[in-house]
Symmetry: C2
Subunit: 366 residues, 2 copies
């Protein structure tokens, strides 16, 4: 009896530990080590940083501990709102001092695209892991420099691909890899919204590196790659501009682009700053199909296949992303779809090719 | 009183005539002429001719009265099944004798694409109105010759654009013209199915004039034009072939193509013989959108906008088409979207441009 009772007690404790969210008290009760937490500072305090900070409140493996900003008043607000310690807050002038800060493990770079390279290089030199928002840079050349710098410094470089951790997306990727759609021969990605304030950094070539393509077109590029499970071998692209005042030199308003893949699959995509209602992925195979709409928005992703709708419940994307990135950095746990610098570089090479194809009017071999 | 009574009688009779389907008895009661009926012969007795013949049983303005076929046994079957008189049945050898046949008004040419021109010229010379299945020809040059021949002979040339009479399609076209979607800047057309029997005429260049583009890609071309309400000014296109045995020289398996329009709108389309589940139109504007899926299939068209689903009930497309074409030929009643030779020629010019763009890899200005 005592043996059976002991077994039941143990089983019950294990069941409890497995069925509840992992908590310190249970871990302690089981005599396990506390799970390590990734201590993160956010660099660039725009609206997306606020979204990430809010999402991180629900993280179990990542914790917001600091900020880097060029605006002192913002730092004050963030310190108060998020209970940040003063010594974990930096300006762009003194950010190199972060090197000696033992309380910060990683920095999430959420500054304008045109500053990603410079900021990543600074942080790598300071020995911090870098999570860099997508697009990782404005050109593949910059991306390569960032990868090299992080490698030389022995820090990780991750790109903020939140969709790579989203449950519906991963389910469709798994189904595709398992052959449930047959041979997937066509991907369609439509990425667009009507951009507001014409004076924002996204419409400033030096800061953005480009227009809609850099901001949202990259979702269709990335989506084509993870849903088809191949890398493109050619790209063609066509640009249209209806408002050359709002969308100046080097800022693409609308680009349609196509990619060809080794299997014979093609992708046909739209990137635009002039139309709403555009956040759609469609994957077509010889045995079935998958659709996602919205496919990359911040809210719940709606996905269905020829069999029926997927039912994965919504978790704030940035919460999952930061927890999984912590697990990657701290435990080396690799995700199904990579989120490293090389993954970011693959997209940047395609962005480069698209701009080249627009310029030359010719098919660009990648 | 007698004046008022007379007025009411007259009004009641008029209301009856307007509110009920037009019938011979009411027409006779009102002392009107019987509505004229278009007496049609079908040329080329393949499966689509059978579908048209079946649909015409429900027509009120068009009647199947004859056939033209190269297969005597088929003529026998059709004579019996449809109660056709022997003098209204022709072979390809004696079809020119149709000139003296006063019981046939028009011929619907449903032969392989590569024969459309020759057959249309023969029928025009015989003084018969021609309804020619789409694509009207295999090149714009052929289309122009057909238009010229019919004009010279004083007969009408209509192209079998059944979607131009479909209720959901027309509703979306009207909404677009009324500005309900705002400025429409993007059209996407996906047209594809997996083609079976590799020895069919559709995969024989001489008979088909091309592959999927001629057969179904033309739906996306045409759909882009009627949903955007503009004519393209440029075309780009990319070809992919995964099965060069089944899809030989000159038979396109898969082509992605794009069109640019004067307003700045773009169309991004897919034409393929290698994927099912592809019959989708998407029209995106600054104030809303429309989707159709299926968008051109023979069955019920499913359409919805940002406001909600459209509810027009299904009527067999070919029934409506033949009744409306009879009204066009007999009464000169023009449809909202043209179905004449010029309309067909516009599509053929784009098909020519797409093939040229595939060949040269360059943007083709139309």
């Amino acid at each position: 009896m005592s043996t059976r009772r002991h077994f039941l007690q143990k089983a019950s404790l294990t069941t409890l530990a497995l069925s509840l969210p992992f908590s310190d008290s249970i871990a302690k009760a089981l005599g396990q080590q506390e799970p390590k937490v990734l201590r993160v500072a956010l660099m660039g305090l725009g609206s997306y940083a606020s979204r990430v900070a809010e999402a991180m409140k629900d993280c179990s493996r990542a914790k917001l501990v600091g900020v880097i900003s060029g605006t002192p008043s913002k730092i004050e607000q963030w310190k108060q709102k998020h209970g940040l310690s003063a010594q974990n807050c930096y300006s762009y002038e003194n950010v190199d001092q972060i090197k000696s800060n033992k309380d910060i493990d990683a920095v999430y770079v959420i500054t304008p695209n045109g500053l990603h390279k410079e900021h990543t290089l600074t942080l790598a030199k300071a020995g911090k892991h870098v999570i860099c928002e997508k697009p990782m840079a404005t050109t593949a050349q910059e991306g390569q420099e960032m990868i090299a710098a992080c490698k030389a410094a022995g820090v990780q470089l991750l790109i903020g691909y939140r969709m790579h951790f989203e449950a519906n997306t991963l389910d469709i990727v798994k189904k595709q890899r398992a052959g449930e759609f047959g041979k997937t021969l066509f991907f369609q990605g439509l990425s667009g919204f009507v951009i507001g304030n014409p004076s924002q950094w996204r419409l400033n070539k030096l800061l953005s590196g480009g227009g809609a393509m850099m901001d949202i077109g990259i979702y269709s590029i990335n989506g084509a790659r993870y849903l088809l499970g191949e890398e493109p071998i050619w790209v063609t692209a066509q640009e249209t501009k209806t408002d050359p005042v709002k969308f100046g030199e080097g800022i693409d308003e609308t680009i349609t682009f196509q990619m060809g893949f080794p299997s014979g699959a093609t992708a046909s995509c739209l990137s635009t700053y002039s139309l709403n209602y555009l956040d759609k992925f469609f994957l077509s195979g010889t045995k079935g199909f998958a659709e996602m709409q919205p496919s990359t928005g911040y809210g719940p992703i709606k996905a269905w296949t020829h069999v029926g709708p997927l039912q994965h419940s919504h978790v704030t994307h940035q919460t999952t992303q930061m927890d999984k990135m912590a697990a990657l950095i701290l435990d080396g746990k690799l995700p199904l779809i990579p989120v490293d610098g090389e993954e970011g570089l693959k997209d940047m090479r395609i962005v480069d090719a698209i701009y080249q194809a627009v310029k030359t009017g010719e098919k660009v071999i990648i």
